[in-house]
Point group: C2
């Protein structure tokens, strides 16, 4: 059972967040590809959060969190594999706040460069959640910074949920009803926020998560009903290596129907398809929902499916080497 003392956001918090952050974030486009639709046998709509400020949906949650800081806060800190760190650094800079980001030393260089580019201080640590939390504790002890967690936070979940409000508005404006909304799931901020928003605004829409089979804690948590809090994540989708947060799990079990897993090769194939057919440069994590459609076609056949392209930040050299390996194999 979820801890009854958890402060969970409600749908009203998502509406407030949408108002609070409207001036700071982009309303990202919803794009289609006739060629990918033919390949998948479904009607896919890609919500382009890789075109969001800072190149990822994380700008939504970070912006919203900074609208709800304790009075007198002059410094914020977090741990992040990259996109949340960059988003917090960006949001903090816009408000004149100091910011420190604890990052695993496995984070892509491009993500480190983005955090530094927004003027935040970077503290490197080991790759596990325990490593990150220990390093963050140290920062807080020495600086008194206010912590903005990457996903297990009511303000963050409400902020990420604003993407679902846009999906609902844009699908109505375009005259179609989504059957399924599919988001990647790592810590679960995006998925929990999307589930919460859809349950309130469009309960007929099936909300599904997609994650790498090599980091399948969310699927195991949801299917077993017991929160799995540790895993040895092994995936190229660097944004999805974290385990599900407590608040995230509590909301996901109420609002998300299922979580689908995908193979590493499936992620590379989906990313390559997105690059070549839509000409959109998305990072591996963002390709996970399309990988789910490609690897589980029967679940999506002929359906209107909205897939969140969660981000577009990566080391180009590394991404390219994935395709090079594939070209060599085929």
């Amino acid at each position: 059972m979820p801890d009854e003392n958890l402060d969970l956001p409600g749908s009203a918090d998502i509406f407030s967040a949408a108002q609070a952050i409207a001036e700071r974030i982009h309303r990202t486009p919803l794009i289609t590809s006739a060629q990918i639709d033919r390949i998948c046998g479904a009607h896919l709509f890609f919500k382009c959060e890789h075109l969001q400020k800072t190149g990822a949906f994380k700008a939504r949650g970070a912006s919203n969190a900074l609208c709800h800081l304790p009075a007198g806060t002059s410094m914020v800190a977090t741990h992040s594999s990259g996109n949340h760190g960059a988003a917090l650094a960006w949001a903090a800079a816009a408000r004149g706040l100091a910011c420190t980001v604890v990052m695993p030393d496995t984070a892509p260089l491009a993500k480190r460069a983005a955090v530094a580019g927004y003027g935040a201080e970077i503290v490197l640590c080991g790759p596990t959640l325990q490593d990150r939390e220990a390093a963050l504790r140290k920062v807080v002890e020495s600086t008194g910074a206010h912590v903005v967690p990457p996903f297990d936070d009511s303000r963050i979940i409400a902020g990420q949920g604003t993407v679902a409000l846009e999906i609902i508005e844009q699908s109505r404006a375009r005259g179609f009803n989504p059957d399924i909304v599919l988001t990647p799931v790592g810590g679960g901020g995006l998925l929990a926020g999307t589930g919460l928003a859809m349950a309130a605004m469009a309960p007929e829409v099936l909300v599904l998560g997609a994650e790498p089979a090599g980091a399948d804690d969310a699927q195991r948590s949801l299917r077993s009903g017991t929160h799995v809090t540790s895993q040895t994540a092994d995936t190229i989708a660097d944004g999805l290596r974290t385990t599900l947060g407590q608040r995230n799990f509590a909301l996901i079990r109420e609002t998300v129907k299922d979580i689908v897993t995908v193979s590493e090769q499936g992620i590379v194939d989906a990313m390559q398809l997105l690059w070549t057919r839509t000409k959109q440069l998305v990072e591996p994590s963002a390709a996970v929902p399309l990988a789910a459609v490609l690897e589980h076609p029967a679940r999506f056949r002929d359906k209107n499916v909205v897939l969140v392209l969660s981000g577009g930040n990566m080391d180009l050299e590394r991404a390219a080497s994935l395709f090079a390996e594939e070209a060599t194999e085929s």
Copy 2:
């Protein structure tokens, strides 16, 4: 002096083309990047022809040419390093016409695959214009196909010019006046069509071409006033290795102020900037205008500059290796 017998298009042909192809092509977006603007010290607007049908502006000219075929034509043919071939194959398939494309064996695999994917027959040849023309003559002799040239053709130039009409409409809708429109130049279809349209519709706008220093026949032609018809093209911008067409030169000398050249490293840097900042996957040729702004900043400082992102078709592995080389060097 231009040959007086050349059938040159007029601005009316561009308006007719826009009407004729409206249902078949995309009206592509005009996007901006605050980060690239800061780097360049100018206001840049990118016209996204890499999001055009077939992934390149060439769909415009090919569509228009097929609206003006001799009666009874059942087969078309062309020579192309890639994007025109794919566009013609696509346009022919839509009308139930057979199509043969002569391609240099140096053309990117992705471009060959696209031509084949639209159902056209491919005939490979050597890399020079002479090689291509000889191979195409053979095809015509044996099949009687109607030739749709890649650029030196009145219908093609008028079709490519429709991009300029959209630029004018979109800049008015967005409330800004372009100071400069900058397109890549290879055979000169896009640049001649743009120059012609701007001269008629917005003569106050400066039209400039941009080409690799390793394929600078257009600059030499324009600056000397004498049509340079041969060069040893050496550039990663595979779409720009051809020499300027006769009709194209005749129009460009009347409507284009200057042609700027860029280095190979400049093309890689501009492409990397576009990939990482706009998350748009453009091919090397499409990055040439931004390379021109980066390498000649004084010419563009504080100006409103529209740059045509001409296409997005390339071998990802090859593109990636360009960035890898750069990462190793730096």
